[in-house]
């Protein structure tokens, strides 16, 4: 593998990381969904590129799944769903500046953890790991700081994107296609649960803050 292979893999991973940063404090739901779609397409390209450099044809299947589901299917379904619900804006969670600072701290943490960890491993493994871990932590941060259920699900989806990026980068990983399908089921189930009629029927909003008052054993 030449340096070009590394470079392209890193550009794609870096672009996914950039999407995660933009997701972090995006208020408008429409833009949130576009960003998710962009991240999904980038993931598909990264998977396809890994399939090409590793000569592993099954990764093309993963790439196709990512493109069809995360690049096209899920964003389209979300657009239809929010148009029906009529929510256009969510809470921002954190303001832009603290969100960027915290996000930067997460990336620094990921690099600190991943780089010394793998001094013996191949360069690609190490830096792929750092990028994927960063995206994962940013997704986690998003799930912690946002209250709107769609934003939480977006955090889960970008965490899942990070997992797939790591999985396609790990040479010889068995069951990649199966695991990416299973991960997709998880995300789709989250979204289905969200937009399933029950949540609307009972609380008529996607702000999970409302749910906090509905718990047994009040203090």
């Amino acid at each position: 593998m030449g340096t070009l292979a590394y470079d392209i893999a890193h550009v794609l991973g870096g672009a996914m990381l950039l999407c995660s940063f933009l997701l972090l404090s995006q208020r408008r739901l429409g833009a949130l969904i576009w960003l998710l779609a962009a991240q999904g397409v980038l993931l598909a390209m990264a998977a396809g590129w890994q399939g090409y450099t590793q000569g592993a044809t099954h990764l093309y299947v993963s790439a196709a799944i990512a493109l069809l589901a995360k690049g096209i299917g899920i964003p389209w379904a979300l657009h239809v769903a929010i148009r029906r619900i009529g929510d256009a804006e969510a809470d921002a969670g954190l303001r832009a500046m603290p969100a960027l600072l915290l996000g930067g701290a997460m990336v620094a943490l990921a690099i600190l953890v991943a780089l010394p960890v793998s001094t013996g491993s191949r360069v690609l493994t190490r830096e792929d790991l750092a990028i994927a871990l960063s995206i994962l932590l940013l997704g986690l941060l998003m799930m912690c700081t946002r209250r709107h259920a769609l934003a939480q699900a977006a955090g889960l989806l970008s965490m899942e994107n990070a997992l797939m990026l790591a999985a396609v980068g790990a040479a010889g990983m068995p069951l990649v296609v199966e695991i990416s399908a299973a991960g997709l089921v998880l995300v789709v189930a989250a979204l289905a649960g969200l937009f399933g009629m029950r949540m609307r029927e009972h609380v008529a909003t996607l702000d999970t803050g409302v749910l906090d008052t509905h718990r047994g054993d009040p203090r």
Partner: protein, 459 residues
């Protein structure tokens, strides 16, 4: 492997036959139990994706027993005709068996994810707002947990690329792998599967899910899901521990276990809702099991394994008895359930004995495991005795107090129109108690032999 296939086929078949769902559910669980028993008589295979060994076979046996008992109990009460519930129940059992038996971390992850989805469906099935809140919290926290576990799995694959994620190959390859990657993988897997087994930093989905879902589901959540997740942690520990250069994985388990035990033991005193109370008691027992496996060595592992088995049996019995009592009294507040021995002696004594068993009093299995745990802690790590004994005593005292309140004293009035508990409740309740009793007093020699072999499995 029929133990997985039978419940999986059952889950697909149940929605087609809604009228006989409850009876069919019991029949499928009985067939699964037969498959598990057949599995136990065969020698361990050395190849294949699904593989029984000394560590997972006892867990599979107990999963069969608890599944059957809960299926019988599910025919009692108002869920008896919900095909969504019964199909999700069998789907859960199939995924749980697959997770226990698979010899591949990737397959195990897929199975645990499927089990999570099935249990989310079951928790949400009463369709109240509180159940939705519980299901959503369960889903989000466990979604994060299993995402982290998958990342840990991928990092293990990066560390030992040639193994193809099979446990035996991973163990063999781990000795020469990069220690830093193995450490990272273990932490991710511990936090990930630890979330599902209720260890401390990410435990707070558990009381909600236990309190708000349908009554029978609590028994399988507590008895099976927590145990299976802990089994995943053990497999990861076995792999990472094979490399002398890593931070000893037992240390992490010890720290999380002690924190879990102490938090749960003190929280138990403040609970007024009976199902939340026993959910916290499950968290406490998972903490104890984590301490036992963290100590490691044959004695520690044996204590941990007996503790997992005993907890699955006794706690399922508690939740079955408690579920019947809740249906009877129409409330799940501890204060509203009282004097069961006076009004319904068979149920009252059964529930009382089960709660005392969960408190770790003799003659049930948890007494044996806690005794073994305390003695081996005293031998290997005397400083550990202080928090361990404190947690054990505070927790046990809380359970004894609740046992008194639930079972003794004057009876509280029954809800109007509630039918007295029949065989569908008493049979599984007393059956589980009997098995937990046999586990200490008259364990069959083959099972004792198997447990000893499991404790020797290097963990």
């Amino acid at each position: 492997m029929w133990a997985v296939l039978i419940p999986a086929l059952g889950a697909a078949m149940l929605p087609l036959l809604p009228r006989y769902a409850a009876a069919l559910n019991i029949a499928i669980s009985a067939a699964t139990m037969a498959a598990v028993l057949a599995l136990a008589t065969q020698p361990f295979p050395t190849e294949g994706w699904l593989r029984a060994d000394a560590l997972n076979l006892p867990l599979v046996l107990v999963a069969g027993i608890v599944g059957l008992a809960t299926a019988v109990f599910s025919a009692h009460g108002r869920l008896a005709h919900s095909r969504q519930y019964h199909a999700a129940f069998q789907g859960f059992c199939a995924a749980n068996m697959l997770a226990l038996l698979s010899d591949n971390l990737g397959l195990m992850w897929v199975a645990i994810e499927a089990a999570t989805l099935a249990s989310v469906v079951m928790v949400a099935s009463p369709r109240t707002t509180a159940a939705l809140e519980a299901a959503w919290k369960f889903f989000i926290l466990c979604g994060v947990g299993i995402a982290l576990a998958l990342f840990g799995t991928i990092v293990l694959q990066m560390a030992v690329p040639a193994a193809g994620l099979s446990f035996a190959a991973l163990r063999a390859g781990a000795a020469s792998a990069d220690a830093g990657l193995l450490n990272l993988a273990f932490i991710l897997l511990l936090v990930g599967y630890g979330t599902k087994s209720g260890l401390v930093p990410l435990h707070n989905w558990l009381p909600d899910a236990h309190a708000e879902g349908p009554v029978p589901i609590t028994a399988v959540l507590s008895g099976l899901l927590l145990t299976t997740a802990m089994h995943g942690v053990l497999r990861a520990k076995a792999v990472v521990g094979a490399n002398p250069g890593t931070v000893p994985p037992g240390t992490f388990l010890l720290v999380l276990g002690v924190a879990t035990l102490l938090l749960a033991a003190f929280t138990l005193w403040r609970r007024r809702d009976a199902r939340r109370f026993f959910a916290w008691s499950s968290i406490k027992h998972m903490g104890l099991a984590a301490i036992a496996f963290g100590l490691g060595g044959p004695a520690g592992n044996l204590a941990g394994l007996i503790h997992l088995l005993g907890h699955a049996l006794v706690k399922s019995a508690v939740f079955i008895g408690l579920g019947a009592a809740i249906t009877l009294k129409g409330s799940q507040r501890i204060a509203d359930i009282g004097g069961l021995v006076a009004s319904h002696p068979a149920l009252g004594w059964g529930l009382g004995l089960a709660v005392l068993g969960a408190a770790g009093l003799p003659p049930f299995m948890l007494f044996a495991s806690e005794f073994l745990l305390v003695t081996s802690a005293g031998r290997q790590n005397p400083w550990l005795l202080a928090p361990l004994l404190l947690g054990l005593l505070v927790g046990a005292a809380a359970l004894v107090r609740v046992a008194q309140r639930l079972c003794l004293g004057p009876a509280t009035p029954d809800a109007p129109g509630a039918a007295p508990p029949g065989l569908l409740v008493l049979l599984p309740l007393w059956g589980l108690l009997l098995v937990a009793l046999l586990g200490t007093l008259a364990m069959p020699a083959t099972i004792a032999e198997m447990l000893r072999a499991a404790a020797e499995v290097p963990l």
